[in-house]
Symmetry: C2
Subunit: 397 residues, 2 copies
């Protein structure tokens, strides 16, 4: 599979495939594309972002501004073979990597194209997100400033969806249905998802988007609460069981019964009532959390099967055995930046299989010669000429 993309969506698509065992060839322009120096950086200027998103891939450096370089990329994307002719890109629909151009080289080519806006105009995660209303629904009540997400959720979702689309298209091709292009614009992924989760139906029915409500869980009971020692814990009670277990662990069963009696209703089986009347419930929960330390609450919550979580920093998470420390998904490996740090393999675990080694990102251009020889069948002399002409490059010395 050939990955000619930048930033998050396209590269994660390639990453997921590489970590499932596919040979993924990432093509960058000589010297690196727009994401090659993306922060965070190591002290030597090497991008921790680029090397994290391109693990387990091969790297080919080709001058994408020159016709001869462009032709090489087209031939790589449309390379022959049952498991080749698989291509992910975020290059323009109508540029030199258009589906029409590539299809001339291989009729059953599969191309997955990440786009910004569906009409082909420039859009990135942040600007699509600002158009969907979410930043106006996010953040503390009483502060009307838009709050962007820090996690590029639309990019990530689009990347995983492209990996799905690509493999589904490969399956169809194996079944004799030929190739296809699948276009995945962030704007369509965003619009479809807002609809799939019911946000748009809600806005159509109420006439306005869901109001900003801080960390309150919409339509059920949940929020962050502060413990005696100032820790913040997130509590979720959607199912009847989650609700009853939380009340028991907090020792507020009777107090909630009193609220139910006062209001003439029952919270147990109707999560929505808990949301509607949450202002009556919050004081009980706030007092119960404030009466105990996080260290006292945690074992009671866990013993009772309560759905809760502590807010912690990422540096704390790094020593959390549930996430990073000792997680078999992670292995300590040496990266192109010269740094050695833990990196994850595939996000899915197959319990029957032993996890293979996590392999680092390549150096830029590390596999240029190998790929040109093996995939395109170029001779040593031809490859040498391309180097001399500056059309391709190997790794920096």
């Amino acid at each position: 599979m050939v990955d000619v993309s930048a930033f998050v969506a396209g590269p994660t698509c390639g990453l997921y495939l590489a970590q499932m065992g596919a040979e993924v060839i990432r093509v960058d322009t000589v010297g690196g594309g727009p994401d090659f120096r993306r922060w965070p950086l190591a002290e030597n200027g090497s991008s921790l972002y680029w090397e994290s998103l391109n693990k387990s891939k091969k790297s080919v450096a080709i001058d994408l501004a020159r016709p001869e370089g462009r032709e090489l990329v087209q031939r790589l994307a449309a390379a022959p073979g049952e498991n080749a002719g698989l291509f992910v890109t975020n290059f323009p629909v109508d540029g030199f990597l258009s589906y029409e151009n590539l299809r001339k080289l291989r009729d059953d080519l599969i191309c997955v194209r990440v786009m910004g806006w569906a009409d082909g105009s420039q859009g990135m995660d942040y600007t699509i997100n600002s158009a969907l209303g979410l930043p106006l629904m996010t953040g503390p009540v009483g502060d009307d400033r838009p709050v962007n997400h820090v996690l590029a959720a639309w990019d990530l979702l689009t990347g995983a969806y492209c990996a799905f689309g690509l493999v589904a298209a490969l399956l169809a091709r194996m079944r004799g249905q030929g190739g296809r292009e699948i276009r995945a614009p962030l704007s369509d992924v965003g619009a479809a998802t807002m609809a799939n989760l019911g946000f748009t139906a809600e806005a159509l029915m109420t006439g306005h988007q869901r109001p900003r409500m801080g960390n309150d869980l919409f339509g059920a009971f949940g929020r962050d609460f502060q413990t005696k020692d100032g820790e913040k814990l997130m509590l979720l009670c959607i199912t009847p069981r989650q609700w009853s277990k939380a009340l028991e662990a907090l020792g507020i069963v009777e107090a909630v019964k009193q609220v139910e009696a006062d209001l003439g209703l029952s919270f147990a089986t109707d999560e929505g009532l808990r949301f509607t009347h949450r202002e009556h419930l919050y004081p009980l929960f706030e007092r119960a959390f404030a009466a105990k330390t996080a260290a006292e609450l945690a074992p009671a919550f866990d013993a009772g099967g309560v759905t809760w979580g502590a807010y912690q920093t990422l540096e704390a998470a790094l020593s959390d055995p549930r996430l990073f420390k000792g997680n078999p998904m992670f292995q300590d490996i040496a990266h192109p930046s010269g740094k050695t740090y833990p990196a994850p393999g595939a996000m899915g675990t197959i319990p029957q299989d032993t996890r293979g080694p996590v392999t680092p990102a390549p150096k830029l251009g590390q596999h240029t010669d190998e790929v040109l020889a093996n995939v395109l069948g170029l001779s040593g002399g031809e490859i040498g000429r391309l180097h001399d002409a500056g059309v391709v490059a190997g790794p920096a010395a």
Copy 2:
């Protein structure tokens, strides 16, 4: 494919497959599971969330608390056929829908299992997210309260990744590699993603997580700015081209040159310098935005190829032709709630193909009899007995 799951991750996995043409059978317990009444609701109490997440699926209602019902679900999950024996669930690893149990019925079964924490303990999107540090990186500077995301990003990413994993496993099975279980815990998806984006490497190197910085784009230039008429626009300048185009459109080329001269550096080719010195740059941008209305800036930005976006509400987005209005991905259809509103088909567009009709979610139990007869080969008498015994149910009258 059989989908016995609730909430977002599992159901979106099934939805993506259904919208790519797979027959997806969603199994709920009789009367509906924990997400069947999830908000938002229509006036009649029907869940707009459930019906949006289960479009294009078949619905079977089986009492999951009874042994006879459980056995039926096991047989459905492990049904024979080249395109069957495909199963997505968020049920416990070691419960009646364990891989070991199902594998006894079909050795090459493919099972994708959404989990909360990788150790099998309860976790949902919000509680995994609170453990990863993101809510402490999100939101306005100077307000230290955690800010949860409103979009269930981990759920969504996990769902799309599961769809990818399931199709990849099917491909492997077609190639003679047998079946497998793929476990996708939200905690592993979260931890891997924080690493894939470089967040963890950064925290390991600096000793702390990325500080909260409001809507500032990390490592490059970007933020929301306010126009003369009080609109908020997001601006992004990562590439040299994005930077130069924005300066031109805002008429601040010379002013920025002066800052560069004062500081003795050049912003053009080093996005990181723009970030490091952003406090010197913000006043120029703030003044330029404040001098014009959004209606004046928009055409200048678009003509110049600037990467920008306006913050708008979801109700405004609904009439935005780039997102919802007239988007061929959406069709106006009648839903089980009795409401007619636009719903999307597949998030990916295949330009060669005409989009088929978007099909609504089923009524709960709508396909119980059909599926029991066609997939399990039960006779009419047997199905009748199951109804009489309350083990299965059809749609409410």
